[in-house]
């Protein structure tokens, strides 16, 4: 029996309730109460995961981590629950910035920058373009109603609860817990993941051990490019004096 089960269960129920109250459900919404409930659930999760020890010298690292994680997760909740899709996209951008910070905190410098450039710079802006092309003025009716808000929030929260329970279970396993606690930034990490010339090491690995994957990814990009052009060309343009495509 996992000793963290009661607190995870409470956090799961709170998360489901909070998300259900925050999701757009037409005229009846208790967004404020929902926000407080979700925040309480997130605090329980933070308490379950926390290893804050003020006497330790590494408290600054803990503070940075919890700030980044809080920004990421709260922005994610806002992305899902804002009824205006434009605001959703902007909150998603903030969540991406938080994720990039988390990557940097792990020492994955290239990924942190690539997330900002590719996701926030390219993908998100493309989403915003389509939103501007396609979104009617104001908040449309279907944005202010979600289908099955209660069931969706419950299933998502249960997935989170089960995942967190199994993650905590791994670390309470005596086999893992009895291992000597490795200090932060192990010396052998300095030769690989946390090496000084991070990008050089990453590139060397990428183009030697993972070369086939790079080729496959390049082919996939080409196929997606051709497919996207083929799909988009079939869109019937509004008639403008006989200029018709496709």
């Amino acid at each position: 029996m996992n000793e963290a089960l009661p607190s995870v269960a409470v956090a799961t129920v709170l998360l489901a309730l909070g998300l259900w109250m925050m999701l757009p459900r037409g005229t009846t919404t208790w967004r404020g109460v929902g926000a407080l409930t979700t925040l309480a659930a997130l605090c329980i999760f933070a308490w379950l995961s926390s290893h804050l020890d003020p006497s330790e010298e590494a408290w600054l690292g803990d503070a940075v981590f919890f700030t980044l994680a809080g920004v990421t997760v709260i922005a994610a909740v806002c992305t899902v629950t804002f009824s205006n899709p434009g605001y959703s996209a902007i909150w998603f951008g903030l969540s991406l910035l938080g994720t990039a910070g988390l990557f940097l905190f792990q020492g994955a410098q290239f990924l942190g920058v690539a997330t900002i450039v590719v996701y926030a710079g390219a993908i998100l802006v493309t989403f915003l373009f389509v939103l501007m092309l396609a979104q009617p003025k104001g908040e449309s009716a279907y944005d202010r109603l979600s289908w099955g808000a209660g069931l969706a929030a419950l299933s998502g929260a249960v997935v989170v609860g089960i995942l967190v329970l199994s993650i905590l279970g791994i670390f309470q396993n005596p086999d893992v817990a009895s291992r000597p606690r490795a200090p932060f930034e192990l010396p052998e990490l300095k030769t690989e993941i946390l090496a000084d010339q991070h990008v050089a090491h990453l590139g060397a690995q990428l183009f030697s051990k993972y070369l086939v994957a790079v080729e496959v990814a390049g082919t996939l990009l080409l196929v997606a490019l051709v497919g996207a052009v083929a799909i988009a060309e079939r869109i019937k343009k509004p008639d403008r004096g006989g200029q018709s495509h496709g």
Binding site: A89, A108, A182, I193
Partner: protein, 147 residues
Amino acid sequence: MDELALLQNYLIVGALLFGIGLVGFVSRRNMIVMFLSAEMMLQGVSVSLVAWGRYHNDWGGQMLVILILTVAACEAAIALAVVLSLFHQSGSLDIAIWQHLREDNQPEFIEREVLEPLAPEHQWPKLAPSGIEPEPDLEEIAHRSHV
């Protein structure tokens, strides 16, 4: 925070991102927001992969995240082309319009509550046109850029 606690915390953040993205994907009806939620689920997986890679001192996690970035870019390109073509056919981003694509044994989605579109917040005053309409400047029209 030691390396084990770092891994545990990152896995919990990844699980939260994945679950919240799942809620958004299942419950929202705007196609764009659905795709944002799917991307968020990918982000949750990426966070976990980077944490595992650091824990095992192996580059495989970061390589997989690079591949996830590639797949996400492809997915966004194709998804947006499809969304645009669906929008041109139906004039709306509502996914419920396309519910006839569901399986035969699934029940139909019936909207219980139909909302009126919100009125814009500000109604700016408009001036009534008055006076004589000026002659069009032929030179300016000739040099105006045509898009």
